[in-house]
């Protein structure tokens, strides 16, 4: 039932993508250059990217050249995508043996960090966990206010600093608070930053090292929030953020529009970063663990 619910949600969110991969029209066609070009176009339109697409196309060419497209071909492409996206550790998030488990959230401006954190916090609250939020975005006007409102709604504790305060100091205080309260989870929200801003990336490293010093072994997850409407630049974002703070997973947001989020495939291919969660709507419940099977299936159903 639960699985089916997820599937439904994916289908709804990705209905437009499914239309794009109008599978039936493939059947009975000869697998020639024109066919492959069309397939390529469709993958690229889903933001899968040139490099990742060419690899898929090449393997299709090798396996099906001059044959007639049928269910096997569809299954083959599906398997290719699934293989790529499958997460070896399907456990949603690492849980530390010692409280608290610390999750550091980062991403570029406007990718949906704060909203994702609100949804994640709600999810963890629903599982009966105590959650502390660290509002380390002291730069953007009213960012902490935004997180406070969410914290209140989901019943989380929030630690915030004065506007313009050193975000690392807020992280420090939040660690102390989480330790003192014996909270199970600490989620650290950070200010949006473009990956090209070296000084801001440094700041992020500092936040991480402060957290590390306060709580050995932390952060247990470093999640990069990627905007699902982003194109190939998302790969660069993932590269630079990973280099700087060692991301462990991706939260892919804004998939409820017509954006395809195909860049996940490219991100996975170049960086081996697993997608942990998908944001497929504005509601607090529209936040689901990523399931490669369901994701790919919904593309073709």
């Amino acid at each position: 039932m639960a699985i089916k619910g997820i599937l439904e949600r994916f289908k709804k969110g990705l209905a437009k993508t499914a239309q794009l991969f109008n599978v039936r029209s493939w059947f009975g066609r000869k697998v020639d250059q024109a066919f492959l070009d069309e397939l390529e176009g469709r993958l690229i339109q889903a933001d899968v990217g040139v490099a990742a697409t060419s690899r898929i196309i090449e393997s299709v060419r090798e396996a099906f050249a001059d044959q007639t497209a049928d269910e096997n071909l569809v299954a083959f492409v599906k398997d290719q995508l699934k293989e790529l996206l499958r997460d070896p550790s399907p456990d949603a998030l690492t849980v530390s043996a010692k409280k608290p488990s610390v999750y550091l959230i980062a991403g570029v401006n406007g990718s949906g960090k704060t909203t994702s954190i609100a949804k994640l916090a709600q999810r963890l609250r629903d599982q009966g966990k105590s959650v502390v939020l660290a509002a380390c975005d002291t730069f953007r006007a009213a960012a902490a206010d935004q997180l406070s409102i969410w914290a209140e709604r989901s019943g989380c504790e929030i630690v915030r600093g004065a506007p313009g305060a050193d975000p690392a100091s807020v992280a420090h205080d939040a660690c102390q608070r989480a330790l003192a309260r014996g909270s199970e989870v600490l989620i650290v929200d950070t200010a949006g930053r473009l990956h090209t801003q070296t000084h801001l990336m440094r700041e992020l490293e500092k936040i991480k090292s402060v957290v590390q010093r306060q709580i050995p072994g932390a952060p247990h997850e470093v999640l990069l929030v990627l905007d699902g409407t982003n194109g190939q630049n998302a790969i660069r974002q993932a590269e630079v953020f990973t280099k700087s703070i060692g991301c462990t997973g991706v939260i892919l947001t804004k998939l409820d529009g017509t954006a395809k989020g195909g860049v996940v495939v490219a991100v996975r291919q170049t960086l081996k970063l697993p997608v942990k969660f998908l944001g497929v709507g504005e509601g607090i419940e529209d936040f689901q663990p990523f399931d490669a099977e369901a994701f790919v299936e919904s593309l073709f159903s």
């Binding site: 889903a46 990217g49 406007g110 006007a141 506007p163 090209t196 801003q197 409407t229 630049n233």
Partner: protein, 494 residues
């Protein structure tokens, strides 16, 4: 992964000889590279297909101009065609003669509407307008507070109300603006998805009731293939008058702009760079196209240089350098000048082909390196700056303490500065651009070699020299050192 197009093309063209005319056969691979570059810049697939057809028409049969390499010629064709597609830019806003001019901003969540509102308000202030911001985003928590803070920073009134719907709020805002004597109103609407019928209907209602004079679509430069779908939907609902492209300060190539322009016909008016509220720039198609093709932003650099470099000061320094009378004080002035142009990383990114170099700098922060050097010089007395040889152990310790560095850093800088004597002479013949390159090279050397802070790192030749060759090199170095010392001695005052 984003090689610049020219480099890409030259590798494609290496595989076959192009002579005389660009033919369909020899062009094929080159065109393929162009296509990949465009797709990686996130230009919409259909737009690319269409575009490629036109390029091919122009490229095939075009005679290869002597002295111009075929890849350069192809880049030129692509470049020109893209600029033609972008159309002329028109960064002016037409204001109403009577009553307030209403500008409405709309777009997806997180595209940067609120920040752009602030930037637009500042731009209007500089045009002697009296803008008012309207917080019509009642969706996102704390969006109203954010706009209030932005308004305060810019020094512009912000209109907000609680407990009303956005349509009514916007109507009230117009009345309020009239009362307050504000002549331009910026409506900051809530971010929404183009498939959200309910929220799109709300926008249409605002448009119907408030009758904005301009509707601008705020578009994130990082948007992928979907840019076309969202822009087209907003255009259909609202009849857009312009696009504001945001977050162009990153390394996104902004292909979305080309797609949006092609599909909706709506021109890009402004571009937003950076979160600071002063950086809304008029859209310049040539610059953006250069960025999309990875060709750098020379215009931007020249403008930045012109804006910051005092011509007279530059002339004096140039003369000093030519005479070899360049001391640490002058060096410090140069650092300050370059810093005024923006971060070193920014400045570097504007050079064609330097994007890679910035990348190769990787974690090395050229900016903080430069700051560190300036810190050391700042801690010196004017006398020490002009005569670094005065710096003994005591002075060195004092300078190091003042700059918060190790004493060895200070002697490292002084040593390096000495070694720069000949280099400085070269610099005097250099353009501003080369100077920055040279300086950042300096920064890199320092960070990668923590022992001798400012020495250039040794580069392996792959071949171990024989003792005889090493001896020869050593003698040569000594000879150069002697020559340098002699020169210094001969310079009065040094």
């Amino acid at each position: 992964m984003f090689d610049d197009l020219q480099k890409r093309l030259s590798s494609a063209f290496k595989r076959f000889r192009v002579s005389g005319v660009l033919t369909e056969a020899n062009m094929k691979e080159g065109l393929r590279e162009v296509r990949t570059a465009l797709l990686e810049a996130d230009v919409n697939f259909n737009v690319v297909q269409d575009f490629m057809a036109r390029i091919q028409e122009q490229a095939v049969g075009a005679e290869v101009i002597k002295k111009v390499r075929p890849e350069q010629q192809l880049v030129k064709i692509v470049h020109d065609e893209m600029i033609a597609t972008m159309g002329p830019s028109d960064p002016t806003i037409r204001f109403e003669k009577t009553g307030p001019t209403v500008i409405m901003l709309c777009g997806l969540q997180g595209s940067g509407k609120t920040t752009t509102s602030g930037k637009l308000a500042r731009l209007l202030l500089s045009q002697e307008r009296r803008p008012m911001l309207v917080a019509a985003d009642l969706q996102r928590p704390a969006a109203v507070e954010q706009l209030k803070v932005v308004g305060e920073q810019v020094g512009v009134p912000v209109f907000s109300e609680v407990g009303v719907d956005p349509v009514k709020l916007c109507q009230n805002a117009v009345i309020e603006a009239n009362r307050k004597g504000c002549d331009t109103i910026i409506l900051d609407t809530a971010g929404r998805l183009h498939v959200d019928d309910e929220l799109m209907a709300e926008l249409v209602q605002i448009e119907k009731k408030v009758r904005p004079h301009h509707v601008y679509f705020v578009c994130d430069a990082m948007t992928g293939q979907d840019a076309v779908a969202s822009a087209a939907a907003f255009n259909k609902a609202l009849e857009l008058d312009g696009v504001i492209l945001t977050k162009l300060d990153g390394d996104a190539r902004g292909g979305a702009a080309l797609s949006v322009r092609k599909v909706t016909g709506v021109p890009v008016k402004f571009v937003g760079k950076g979160e600071k509220l002063d950086k809304l720039e008029p859209f310049d198609p040539e610059r953006l196209v250069g960025q999309m093709l990875g060709m750098g932003d020379i215009v931007g650099l020249v403008e930045a240089a012109q804006a910051t470099v005092d011509a007279e000061e530059a002339r004096i320094q140039q003369e000093k350098m030519a005479k070899g009378k360049f001391d640490l004080e002058d060096f410090r002035k140069q650092i300050i000048q370059i810093k005024k142009m923006g971060s070193v990383q920014d400045v570097m990114g504007m050079f064609p082909g330097m994007g890679q170099m910035t990348e190769s700098l990787g974690n090395i922060d050229a900016d903080s390196e430069i700051r560190r050097i300036q810190g050391i010089i700042d801690s010196m007395t004017p006398r020490e700056r002009s005569r670094p040889d005065l710096i003994d152990i005591g002075r060195r310790r004092r300078i190091a303490a003042g700059a918060g560095v190790e004493p060895s850093d200070v002697s490292g800088l002084v040593k390096q500065f000495d070694a720069m004597a000949s280099f400085v002479k070269q610099m005097s013949q250099m353009s501003m651009l080369d100077k920055i390159k040279a300086m950042t090279g300096l920064g890199r050397a320092a960070a990668s070699n923590p022992m001798a802070k400012l020495m250039t790192p040794k580069v392996g030749t792959g071949k171990r020299l024989s003792p005889k060759e090493r001896e020869k090199l050593r003698k040569q170095r000594e000879k150069e050192d002697r020559k340098k010392r002699r020169e210094q001695r001969d310079q009065p005052g040094a």
